[in-house]
């Protein structure tokens, strides 16, 4: 790569660079200012994310690649980046009141959110395993730290170390898989791997399996889902919100890209494996969610279940790639909106160093905070997939593409699961609307309200009027297929 090409490539990854620079600015400015003024770092973070957002939009129009094919800056990446940046943006807004009331370190918090987002963005466009692995680790290490961010809480520290050990375990498995694939094909570029792919060489198969395992861990799907509830419960609630949508979506992005581009040679085999994974993930997530007594933990299990629904879309891609892929992508977007909202409400109801997590903590909010109760209701309905919310629409797409691809049993299992899931989402509402309040609710927090309003309106409006949000997913899926000539 000569200098002019390098220069050109660097310009092309503007959004990533914008975020990294913002992170560094936040990090550098943090020690220079004192006390209350640190709160202004919030604005730097928002501006940085906004710049990244705007620069990223360009990619929808001109898909290109940079660093001699290491990054594919196509619509697919742009779509996922949209999920990450919007998610990070709203999570940042939701965090402002939360981290101030919990008395957490402001500068490092915002910087880590932003760095982690930049890692996700690398991940969504990586077509070469070395960049992929580093993006993966930038994202992961940031969220390990964020999970253990509340140093006064032993539970948070416990979540951090558990996440790190188990995450490190899965990273090592992933790395070993990459090594096997490298050994078999002599390259770490996805397109060349696909070209050399030889299903009779066991190194390829073992490598595929190990890499798949690494991704399944990050998605939080069966059989590597055990970490999810513990870490989601222990981490600060805004971090849980952020990672449940961001990390999951990033893991899906890379799963799709690696499997469909790199390992399309044994598509039928990993698809079968994912069929089983998906069915178990949905069922286990939903069943375990029913008996939870903590809302936060219940939402953690629900997030496992949602990973399962999204996997239904991945499996459905076997029938029609564009439809299946776009349904997964749309599902993740919808999940970002509604799940961030649900965790946002919990963050909003936390006060004075105590998190809102049990059912008692939300009992009777309808009487004191009716608008918050309505927002919570809408998010719960959306998560349960009841129309007319974005959650219904997204589930509808996923199951429809499964039916279209003739995966009837998977669709039936999925629908049955979403029927069951209504039960525990509803329980939240029973407490919120039909019980007496048992705790004093925190006062009005204007900043969080902004984010919650956006999310509520988004959940409802995109359910009633999806407009072009769906077209965008179709286009992004198309550009993904175009990148490696599958279309």
């Amino acid at each position: 790569m000569d200098l002019s090409e390098l220069f050109k490539s660097t310009l092309l990854i503007g959004p990533e660079i914008a975020l990294i620079i913002t992170g560094i600015i936040v990090m550098v400015v943090d020690p220079l200012i004192k006390g209350e003024r640190k709160r202004n770092l919030f604005w730097i973070a928002l501006v940085g994310l906004a710049v990244g957002f705007i620069l990223n939009l360009e990619r929808f129009h001109n898909g290109t690649s940079a660093f001699s094919g290491a990054l594919s800056l196509d619509g697919f990446a742009a779509y996922f980046n949209l999920i990450f940046i919007i998610g990070a943006f709203l999570a940042t807004i939701l965090s402002k009141d939360y981290i101030e009331s919990m008395n957490l370190r402001i500068g490092e918090y915002y910087a880590l959110i932003i760095f982690s987002t930049s890692g996700m963005m690398i991940l969504s466009s990586a077509r070469e395993f070395m960049s992929l692995f580093l993006g993966f680790e930038i994202m992961s290490v940031s969220v390990y730290v964020l999970s253990g961010f509340n140093r006064r809480s032993v539970r948070s520290a416990e979540a951090g170390i558990k996440y790190l050990v188990l995450g490190g375990f899965s990273s090592a498995i992933l790395l070993y898989g990459i090594a096997l694939i490298y050994g078999a094909s002599g390259t770490i570029f996805l397109d060349e791997i696909a070209a050399n792919f030889n299903a009779s060489n066991p190194l390829y198969l073992a490598g595929t399996a190990l890499i798949l395992t690494g991704f399944i861990f990050k998605i939080g799907a069966f059989p590597l889902h055990q970490w999810v509830p513990d870490i989601y419960e222990g981490a600060p609630v805004t971090v849980t919100g952020f990672m449940s949508v961001g990390v999951k979506a990033a893991a899906f992005a890379i799963l799709l890209r690696v499997l469909f581009e790199g390992f399309s040679g044994i598509e039928a085999n990993w698809m079968q494996a994912l069929w089983i994974v998906s069915a178990f993930t949905m069922t286990i997530g939903n069943l375990a969610a029913i008996v939870q007594t903590s809302i936060k933990r219940m939402l953690a299990y629900s997030s496992i279940a949602h990973a399962g629904y999204a996997l239904v879309g991945v499996v459905a891609s076997y029938g029609g790639k564009e439809l299946g892929l776009s349904s997964v992508m749309y599902y993740l977007f919808a999940y970002m909106v509604m799940n961030l909202g649900a965790f946002g409400v919990l963050a909003y109801l936390s006060k004075d160093g105590k998190e809102c997590e049990t059912f008692d903590d939300i009992s009777g909010i309808w009487r004191r905070k009716p608008l918050t109760a309505i927002a919570l209701g809408i998010f719960m309905f959306s998560l349960a997939g009841i129309p007319p919310t974005i959650g219904f629409f997204a589930k509808y797409r996923v199951f429809l593409s499964a039916v279209k691809a003739e995966f009837f049993w998977l669709a039936i299992i999925g629908i049955l699961n979403s029927v069951i899931s209504a039960y525990y989402y509803l329980r939240v509402l029973v407490y919120a609307y039909m019980r007496e309040e048992s705790v004093v609710f925190p006062r009005f927090k204007p900043t969080s309200v902004v984010a919650l309003t956006i999310l509520t309106i988004g959940t409802l409006l995109l359910g009633i009027l999806p407009l072009n949000s769906w077209d965008l997913a179709i286009k992004a899926a198309g550009s993904f297929l175009l990148t490696f000539g599958a279309k």
């Binding site: 290491a70 990054l71 760095f115 070469e128 730290v145 078999a184 060489n201 066991p202 073992a206």
Partner: protein, 168 residues
């Protein structure tokens, strides 16, 4: 000659690894890890990866292990907390052997078709040297190299966030 040396260092690395896992004292484990890493570095030299071998010793066996030792010393773990893993060593070793056996069995099923590596006819002249590795690193994999800097920033930031005292 080479094969004898290979077996010696391979045995040393496995022994080191086993000691890491089975020794009750973290300090001994850390030293055993150094043994493994060092033996691996020697194996790297057999594999003509001279630069990487040097790095392995400098960074891994040097810097990272110092970090481990420092933490272990810093925490000043009491004697009684060291007792826990000592029991049932034969059982645990047995389980490990069983796992290795099962893995080996399935691997031999899976790998019964002998796998083929595209062996290179000849190695480039600069293979494994600073020059050769540097050229690949800075030409083909410049982006990952830059990304490592971000990763290190994140790690520093994370350590500061977790370990620094005081809320401000």
């Amino acid at each position: 000659m080479e094969s004898v040396l290979f077996y010696i260092f391979a045995a040393a690395s496995v022994a080191g690894a086993l000691l890491v896992v089975f020794h009750k004292n973290p300090i001994a484990s850390a030293l055993s890890l150094v043994l493994t890493l060092f033996s691996t570095a020697v194996l790297f030299i057999f594999l003509l990866a001279h630069f990487v071998a040097a790095i392995q010793i400098l960074v891994y066996a040097g810097a990272i292990m110092v970090l481990f030792m420092f933490t272990v010393m810093f925490l000043n773990i009491r004697e009684e907390s060291l007792k826990f893993d000592a029991q049932n060593l034969p059982v645990k070793l047995g389980v490990l052997l069983l796992i290795l056996f099962i893995f080996g069995y399935f691997a031999s099923i899976g790998f019964k078709k002998s796998f083929s590596l595209n062996h290179a006819a000849s190695l480039p002249e600069s293979f494994g040297t600073v020059e050769g590795v540097g050229e690949v690193l800075f030409k083909d994999y410049l982006l990952p190299f830059e990304l490592t800097s971000v990763l290190i920033v994140v790690a520093i930031l994370g350590v500061v966030a977790i370990a620094k005292r005081g809320t401000d």
